[in-house]
Subunit: 335 residues, 4 copies
Amino acid sequence: MVFRVGVIGTGNIGTDHANRIASQVSGADVVAVFDVATERAKEVASGVGAVAHATDGDVINDPEVDAVLIASPGELHAEQVLACIDAGKPVLCEKPLAPTTAECLKVIEAEVAAGRQLVQLGFMRRYDAAYVEVKAALDSGDIGEALMLHCLHRNPTAPDWFTSDLALTDSVVHEVDTSRWLLGDEIATVTVLAGKPSPKAGSAQDPQLVVFEMASGVLVTVESFIHAQYGYDVRCELVGSEGVASMDTPTLGAVTRRGGRTTVVPPDWRVRFGSAYQAELQAWVDSLASGEFHGASAWDGYAATAVAEAGLRARAEGARVAVELVDRPSFYAGK
Amino acid sequence: MVFRVGVIGTGNIGTDHANRIASQVSGADVVAVFDVATERAKEVASGVGAVAHATDGDVINDPEVDAVLIASPGELHAEQVLACIDAGKPVLCEKPLAPTTAECLKVIEAEVAAGRQLVQLGFMRRYDAAYVEVKAALDSGDIGEALMLHCLHRNPTAPDWFTSDLALTDSVVHEVDTSRWLLGDEIATVTVLAGKPSPKAGSAQDPQLVVFEMASGVLVTVESFIHAQYGYDVRCELVGSEGVASMDTPTLGAVTRRGGRTTVVPPDWRVRFGSAYQAELQAWVDSLASGEFHGASAWDGYAATAVAEAGLRARAEGARVAVELVDRPSFYAGK
Amino acid sequence: MVFRVGVIGTGNIGTDHANRIASQVSGADVVAVFDVATERAKEVASGVGAVAHATDGDVINDPEVDAVLIASPGELHAEQVLACIDAGKPVLCEKPLAPTTAECLKVIEAEVAAGRQLVQLGFMRRYDAAYVEVKAALDSGDIGEALMLHCLHRNPTAPDWFTSDLALTDSVVHEVDTSRWLLGDEIATVTVLAGKPSPKAGSAQDPQLVVFEMASGVLVTVESFIHAQYGYDVRCELVGSEGVASMDTPTLGAVTRRGGRTTVVPPDWRVRFGSAYQAELQAWVDSLASGEFHGASAWDGYAATAVAEAGLRARAEGARVAVELVDRPSFYAGK
Amino acid sequence: MVFRVGVIGTGNIGTDHANRIASQVSGADVVAVFDVATERAKEVASGVGAVAHATDGDVINDPEVDAVLIASPGELHAEQVLACIDAGKPVLCEKPLAPTTAECLKVIEAEVAAGRQLVQLGFMRRYDAAYVEVKAALDSGDIGEALMLHCLHRNPTAPDWFTSDLALTDSVVHEVDTSRWLLGDEIATVTVLAGKPSPKAGSAQDPQLVVFEMASGVLVTVESFIHAQYGYDVRCELVGSEGVASMDTPTLGAVTRRGGRTTVVPPDWRVRFGSAYQAELQAWVDSLASGEFHGASAWDGYAATAVAEAGLRARAEGARVAVELVDRPSFYAGK
């Protein structure tokens, strides 16, 4: 069976997803596309043999569409996801689930009411082989109990409008999910430390140092550096009571010339996480058949937004801020 | 469009291929399967929603089959490939094209007569990201002219029937293709040196050291070690006049415990080259639409068998043996 | 000329130093030794061909002694160093200069009054080739301006009496000096975060996360983990505006067996920093001739103790604590 | 006790040795120096506080000289070593012991007649920590029986007069000793393969591929490349029946900038093997007291020359050449 996917949003990541589903994922086609940038949407649609619709609702409610992929601006996500739930269609939504916890909770309420899981969040690192290996090392017991987690998240550059706040809500949000997923634990408090800003960072406070305290007490450090210049470099090291699990930005080989032995650093997230996106999309399509989704849930999306909100307050107030979560509905147990 | 693939041979690699095409490759289904092991064939067919046929010819000539993947024993390849050419169907044939150059030449003759490329050989390393990076380093000019190539090919263990001859024809044959492809050059001579045999190798002469002299004079060393015990470890280092391009068995992360920092070595080729097989199959399916095949050609299969034949003589005679190739048909220029 | 060194304190590090000066350093002999553990002192003295004296003062004032190495308990350092200054003898003092800034300032006063540099502190990392390489990368301008520094300091185990306070004053004090030296900057504030304690750490709060804010705003993170079990692992990564300089626990080679490829982690600081101690001692002996000392000065010792004091308060109060330093005497400019 | 060393030959390596003994080795001074380049000898002598003598014999027979270090041109070594034996003085002789086996045998005869070991050969790799680790891995049994050894020996450039013959006798001779020492075995045959020459190599045949067959059957491959351009890169990988021991050109850290993560390759042997030379000289000076020398012996020097001679014939004849050794005198058992 081939699932027919509708794609909402044809920016960089939406286009990548559409192309990947069309040409590299088994069991799915892209049949409908929407973006407010009409020409771009048509171009992408034509490339994958799909129709460009006039509105996001047209995609969601198209009877030819079995499932929806949302890659629109974050402030539109909640409404679009709710419409998918209304339509009874599974949806893979890029992060964030919504910019506010209030909206996230509406999604959770709707999904719980629907009685079956329809929402998966696009936290692709859960499908990255290196992160998976770190998690496997912890879960195996080989490194004992988790005690600390050190994360680096470096981008080469960011546009002017990418503020220090966005660095938290759009970039560090990946470490939020990574920490919760790796450690199987909620984030209890957030602290944001501002250090010396890079002269390359314009008006942004960059880099920033973020500290999470997990419910269990495990400390997580996150260096967020969106103007690191040299490349896209995302890594973590998980410190256990019996050993350490670490991952590197994967390398394939080296070229040695006068000056030294050099390994390549990926230029951006599309290169670094290309195979994670591939695995994520294939797994999601496989889930369409089984009805069992193994990626991040709406709850994970809600928790991520809750931490991001706390992070913004922590940054504004220069203080440690507690993350307040509602009780997790039993619906999400084991999801 | 979805291409309908018939799979001949459901041993380890045939089953892997069938499952991968069915569940991980975009644009193709498996519709027909054959193996002399009837029960096994049925099982695989049922898993991928295909029909199990009574003979290989039934698969090849099934009007529902657009293209054929051959993963049967090597001595059957030539005949099956010829039948595919006869039927005008594209075929992806696992190495070897045939155990003898005489049979390989028949395939070449038939394909040239057919007037369009139908045959691709399953030398999957050409799709491995690490090998691709080595080739890119050479092709970029960064390391100057190629001068030497050092290859390691280690398997953890091999069954008793896997003789030292098979180590050349079934295992080192990958280095034959790798050398030819990386260097864009033919192998002129082969020497096989027998050293101290491993006590783990039973009656096999293992490891062996193989030396190729390319037409350009570039020397290639190949350590072939099929009872290396510790894992599957395949690597090369390409020495240029201005620098060196090297690759490692890729690693994702490390676990550090008392005793040291340990990175995993893959247990076998299925793990090591999983993503290369994925890329190879997707590229082949993409080629079914374009008619342009970019993998190893029938000529590459012939050349590999010619070198393997020379290798067997070199091993038997303890001497350097020249590889004699027929003139390459112009049909294969640029393929 | 051969300098005659007196060694005070023959615990682990004092004994190592005595033996190293006697048998691996050019231009120096050990001629006198003292420890309250009389038998131990005699044994060490006999091994290096020296005399065991009855008191530390006897060593310092022995006319046969040209220079003194102090490796006694930290609370005795200030008095012993002052006696060396009194006697006009150069002294290499293991860290700390003194446990309190008040005592450190007495040493500074005395050295300034003496009018020539006599005191060097035993911060050996300044002589470690890997740390030197990180500093060289920063000083070369290759990585732009320093923005953040991430440090790990892991010991396999510590005795029961090694409290979380000692982890700061005896262990993290190395990162204090490393940060000041690498960055050429003073530490302005200290924060100590207590996370989930290791079940292996007994009553100690371990690991701890320490954050320094440098006067320039550069942030420094230090993971201090004295019961890491697996080995002695000390590293840093310096993040600049144009790139990153990192160092690893050095490795020489790897052994690959079933289970993976393993590199050794040093069991303790004696192995990890053996060549740094060697370089430190040789440099100090060379300085005895020139009168120019290039290692850490009494000022560096004072600053380290000031930060450690602030760290203890930061830990006790769970708050960010400012480091208050007196004005640096011009005597120490460029030292 | 301080041993008084005489140094013969003040070229690069002789000067390095003289300076190192004078300023970095414990227990020895340089008291006398000779070189035919009189001015250079005087300059070196003055730097280390020694006397410059008029002849090599004056150094050897100077009653103030306890032991001799020979770093003169290789063709003078045998005569000078014989004079040291005559004078009953221990001698550390740079490789080769002599350019011909005939001369080497005279030294052996004289040393055996003297009845005590006086001669150590300057094969410094035996003191390199990375090589020592490879040997330890083999000796521990962890990797099973040795089966193959792969060696790389790359220099950045060589002067015009450094012929392909010299690459064997002056450069690969280190791999001769390394192979014999690591494997505890004699080299039985030598083969030299000439491949495509580097355009940077002038008239030299470079790189060359050398194959040793050890008496036990273990095969050794040596890539000798004296115009590798990019740096000094010397490594080996020892393949055992249960695993592999490998070493890398040691690195301390990395700098990551736009373009990638780069580790330094040493520019020359002085940098790469600086600490090995240091360890070698300290060990030799320590041996002067004990009378027990643990480095390469005159027998090792003879064997190295015998293999080099065979290598020259193998190169000239393009054939595998057997190494013929006289019976080893029992005097050298365990040395």
